[in-house]
């Protein structure tokens, strides 16, 4: 299990155990955490699971795929540390990961 902290745009924190193998998006959705919509269920087709990865975790969460990059390019409020959380696979390595959510998902 990896402990992941999801921080809503208003600052509300949710720390939960996520099973390795799931995506960071699935961890949030299956625990009914607000702020990650994930309309397409993880097909990298919608950009409604946008999160900001806390800087100290950027290396461990890896890099954006080409498809993810071009989806994010058109999402709102994109920053250097933006990722689509459906594209980050949870591993034991990610125990302690902190992500924050944008104001809204489109």
């Amino acid at each position: 299990m990896a402990k992941i902290t999801y921080i809503e745009h208003d600052g509300t924190e949710h720390t939960i155990d996520v099973k390795p193998g799931l995506s960071v998006m699935e961890g949030a959705v299956k625990n009914n955490i607000p702020g990650i919509d994930a309309d397409c269920g993880g097909a990298c087709a919608c950009a409604t699971c946008h999160v900001y990865v806390r800087e100290d975790w950027l290396e461990k969460t890896g890099t954006r795929s080409a498809m993810e990059e071009s989806m994010l390019d058109f999402a709102e409020g994109v920053e250097e540390n933006s990722r689509l959380s459906c594209q980050i696979k949870v591993t034991d390595e990610l125990d302690g990961l902190v992500v924050t959510m944008p104001e809204s998902q489109h």
């Binding site: 299956k30 009914n32 269920g41 087709a45 058109f74």
Partner: protein, 408 residues
């Protein structure tokens, strides 16, 4: 607020999401979630794609873990249907003999696959793809050496065809019209998909009329065509559209028009205590200034948000651009909007490169875009459709100009 009772009839993507959102939005009253299927809400789109190919398991399909419902105080009742609504008494009668009172009722009964009323339809091996159980039966029927006939060249049929080929089956698609996707896509897109599938071994019979199924010992062995030919097969998938499950609403006197007629809060125009969301709703779509029914997950989610917001006393969520997606082989198709009243079709990029987009324009407004492996066109198209901002067509037609510049 804490005394209000919500009953949700239908535990698909729409109903399951509405229940979860009510809790996210702080609604504390009792919620009952009535599901016809034996399992908790799950995602249907992967059934014809990742799940069929064995790349996703049942756990990953589930919207929430099974224990979520009890933990969230949601009274989930599987294998149960609603049989009648008493609007005066504000109660719903269920197939298990109980009657539930409600303050707000959400109808999320979805749509059902249309069956062909033709000879041999009762043979085993004639399958549909709507539920997880349907998908189990289909998965068991496809594999190396098997021959699958797909009746209907729509998106479901093509996804099944692609997955069937990936699993090593022979696949033939039988389509009544003279091109696939005839009702939902323009000719350039039909042609592209036909070629792409044909090059990967999918056979097509276009402009053919299916008149019956033939079988041996109760099991289907072929599809009978009007021209006399029989297309041999081990199994058939029928994907010729869906019909909304609006009978419960009709029987209760709610206004229906192939779907329950609702407003921008997903509330029935007949009864303010009743909402309808997802495939069963006939809803307004202000960007097109018309009402219609959609069969897509994003629509189900948008309406679940509308109904949950109205019930929990939150402001109405901002309108969204309708969209949908399809995965076939290594293609990612993303569609935004609907081509209502379009007077021009503009192709951006070269279909031969399998990376292009088709824009449907009404004057200089984008009505819809079909994007093949082209996320920028999809994402920017969505924004253009929603904002109703005119677009420079010369720039749009030139793929060397970025979508950001086109929309600037």
């Amino acid at each position: 607020m804490s005394e209000a009772r919500v009953v949700i009839v239908g535990a698909g993507h729409a109903g399951g999401t509405a229940a979860a959102l009510l809790r996210q939005y702080g609604f504390e009253g009792p919620i009952a979630l009535i599901g016809e299927e034996p399992i908790p809400p799950y995602q249907r789109p992967p059934l014809s794609k990742a799940w069929l190919k064995g790349e996703a398991d049942a756990d990953s399909l589930a919207l929430k873990p099974t224990e979520f419902y009890a933990e969230a105080g949601i009274d989930f009742r599987p294998s149960t249907t609603a049989t009648a609504i008493d609007r005066a008494a504000k109660t719903v009668a269920l197939s298990d003999g109980t009657t539930l009172p409600y303050d707000s009722l959400i109808l999320a009964t979805g749509a059902r696959a249309i069956a062909l009323p033709i000879e041999g339809k009762e043979l085993s091996g004639i399958l549909f793809l709507r539920t997880a159980a349907d998908a189990e039966a289909l998965k068991a029927a496809v594999g190396p050496g098997k021959k699958l006939a797909v009746v209907g060249g729509g998106y479901i049929g093509l996804e099944v065809a692609a997955s069937g080929r990936a699993l090593g089956a022979e696949v033939v698609v039988l389509e009544r019209e003279d091109r696939i996707l005839a009702r939902v896509a323009c000719k350039p897109l039909s042609d592209f998909f036909t070629d792409y599938h044909a090059n990967r071994g999918v056979l097509f019979e276009l402009g053919c009329s299916v008149t019956g199924f033939v079988g041996e010992k109760g099991r289907v062995t072929g599809v009978q065509l009007a021209d006399g030919r029989v297309i041999g097969c081990d199994a058939v998938v029928v994907g010729v559209g869906a019909h909304p499950n609006d009978e419960l609403a009709k029987d209760a006197g709610l206004e229906c028009a192939r779907g329950v007629v609702v407003d921008l809060d997903a509330r029935s125009v007949t009864d303010p205590a009743i909402f309808a969301i997802g495939d069963v709703a006939h809803r307004p779509m202000p960007i097109y200034d018309r009402m219609f029914r959609m069969e897509s997950v994003p629509n189900a989610l948008e309406q679940a948000k509308q109904a949950a917001s109205a019930i929990a006393g939150r402001p109405r969520p901002a309108g969204e651009c309708p969209w949908q997606w399809s995965d076939q082989f290594d293609l990612k198709l993303q569609i935004a909007g609907y081509a209502f009243d379009a007077d021009e079709v503009l192709v951006r990029g070269d279909p031969a490169s399998a990376k292009f987009a088709i824009f449907h324009l009404k004057g200089d407004l984008v009505q819809s875009v079909e994007a093949i492996n082209a996320p920028p066109e999809f994402m920017m198209g969505k924004q253009l459709i929603l904002s109703r901002r005119p677009v420079n067509k010369a720039k749009l037609a030139d793929p060397s100009i970025s979508m950001k510049e086109v929309a600037a």
